[in-house]
Amino acid sequence: MPETFVFYAFSTVAVLASALVIGQRNPMYSVLLLIAALGALSGLYIQLDAPFVAVAQIIIYAGAIMVLFLFVVMLLNAPREDAAEWDRSHPLRQPGIGRFGALLATLLLVQLAWALMEVNAIDAPVGSRSDAGTVGSVAEMGRVLFTRHTFAFEATSVLILVAMVGAVVLARREDGEA
């Protein structure tokens, strides 16, 4: 089964790279591993008969956003993170906050397990569905995006605009403020 083999190959890369993103001391490596994880995900999208989503993933995330990430990491020359340099007095390291974080993590785990069980309930793989041919079609994708999901689409773009304006306001220095 070549499909199964390819699926496990991409999944292994995606999972390993994502895990290593967190484990790296050098932020440069984290960025690159994230790109690898995004690439592997895009391979999985191709297997799901969604080549457009796969390519959009590469163009937008790996091609545009990650280049900016890399740029920032490179220019700030972010140092390696070593355990000895951790700030023990940081407000986020208070025990109460830690417990709250652990609670959130458990919630996320339960949610994921629940979602995976629900997925199992849907038996047929995407490729065998009757509308499999239209899932990958760019025209169909555009039609659905601009008819059924117009509100979500426009709301997302407004959200991104707000975030951009926010970033500009935060980064801007008033006159006299050094």
Binding site: M28, L32, I35, P51, F52, V55, A56, I58, I59, A62, G63, A64, V67, L70, F71, M74, L75, G136, S137, V138
Partner: protein, 343 residues
């Protein structure tokens, strides 16, 4: 494995082989044409008329010592050239270079000349070429040298800026053809107007074609936009610290990218393998394709040895204030006309 599958695999291998050789031949062509333009012979000693010069260059580069600066990042320094050349090869994966052929009736089912045919082929080319910038940026960063870092930074800024105009000029062609598959775009240009003028998108998209070519030069980091390696300012830019095979991979990636840019331009604007009816009927349309690609490549080299390098701020001004608005305007006008004539 049946015969057709075997031949299809052979075609894929051939595409790879042609790309490798394209980079070697382009180096030779570049030096020969440069010599001609500067009224000298160019390489002349190895083989007849210097034809074996690329082979000599490759052997020389293979046996050079591989140096790595002390402060360089061990892994990324090695990874960067590999990334560059991998992205360059992968970008050609969805570019068709000939019509589907049965090899003069040998096969029942036709094979396609090209590696893969996907319905979002044009986007794949765009996505993979945009990954090529990582190789250069990482080379600049991992070398731990100021010249390399500046080269890498310039490369990323330049490629991000010109990618916009590049993609927008592609979008106008997609509107005309109504498809993202390169093969369908080529076949939409098969007919002629008034019986003699081929229906190439060059005639419908003259502005788009010029924008594509200019942005293509900037994307492949060639003169007059070769800031990432501007010799007078940065020694050799992002590849200053590289030697031996690791160094050789960067120019190889650059030349393969040039070939890809030219092949895509041929598919999008020059009708691909169409244009000489009797050759197309014989199933030799790919010859027409190669000639067209060669013509664009010649123009690339011609430009490099004719036009002096811009200044860096001029490059950014030109990209953002002229090229990008022009490409957006081109897209809007094209969209309006397509709507008008289709309605």
């Amino acid at each position: 494995m049946d015969l057709r599958t075997a031949i299809q695999l052979g075609v894929i291998g051939l595409t790879f082989f042609m790309l490798i050789n394209a980079s070697a031949l382009l180096v030779l062509a570049e030096r020969k044409i440069m010599g001609f333009m500067q009224q000298r012979y160019g390489p002349y000693l190895v083989g007849p008329h210097g034809l074996l010069q690329p082979l000599a260059d490759i052997i020389k580069l293979l046996f050079k010592e591989e140096l790595r600066p002390k402060g360089a990042d061990k892994y990324l320094f090695t990874l960067a050239p590999i990334l560059s050349v991998t992205a360059a090869f992968a970008a050609f994966a969805t570019v068709p270079w000939g019509a589907e052929t049965t090899l003069f009736g040998l096969l029942d089912e036709p094979v396609r000349l090209g590696v893969a045919d996907v319905n979002v082929g044009l986007l794949v080319v765009f996505a993979v070429t945009s990954m090529g910038v990582y190789g250069i940026v990482l080379a600049g960063w991992a070398s731990n040298s100021k010249y390399s870092l500046f080269g890498g930074l310039r490369a990323s800024a330049q490629m991000i800026s010109y990618e916009l105009s590049y993609a927008t000029s592609l979008a106008a062609v997609v509107l005309l053809a109504g498809s993202l598959s390169l093969r369908e775009v080529v076949d939409a240009q098969a007919d002629t107007w008034f019986g003699f003028l081929p229906q190439w998108y060059l005639f419908l998209q003259p502005v788009g074609f010029i924008i594509y070519l200019i942005a293509g030069v900037a994307e492949t980091n060639r003169a007059p936009f070769d800031f990432p390696e501007a010799e007078q300012e940065l020694v050799a830019g992002y590849n200053t610290e590289y030697s031996s095979v690791r160094f050789a991979l960067f120019p190889q990636a650059e030349y393969i990218n040039m070939a890809t840019m030219s092949a895509v331009a041929t598919d999008l604007y020059l009708g691909g393998w169409h244009g000489v009816p009797f050759l197309t009927e014989l199933g030799l349309g790919w010859l027409v394709f190669l000639v067209k690609v060669g013509a664009i490549l010649f123009a690339y080299i011609w430009m490099r040895w004719t036009v002096p390098r811009y200044r860096y701020d001029q490059l950014m001004q030109f990209g953002w204030k002229w090229l990008f608005p022009a490409s957006v305007l081109n897209l809007i006008v094209t969209a309006a006309l397509v709507l008008y004539f289709n309605a």
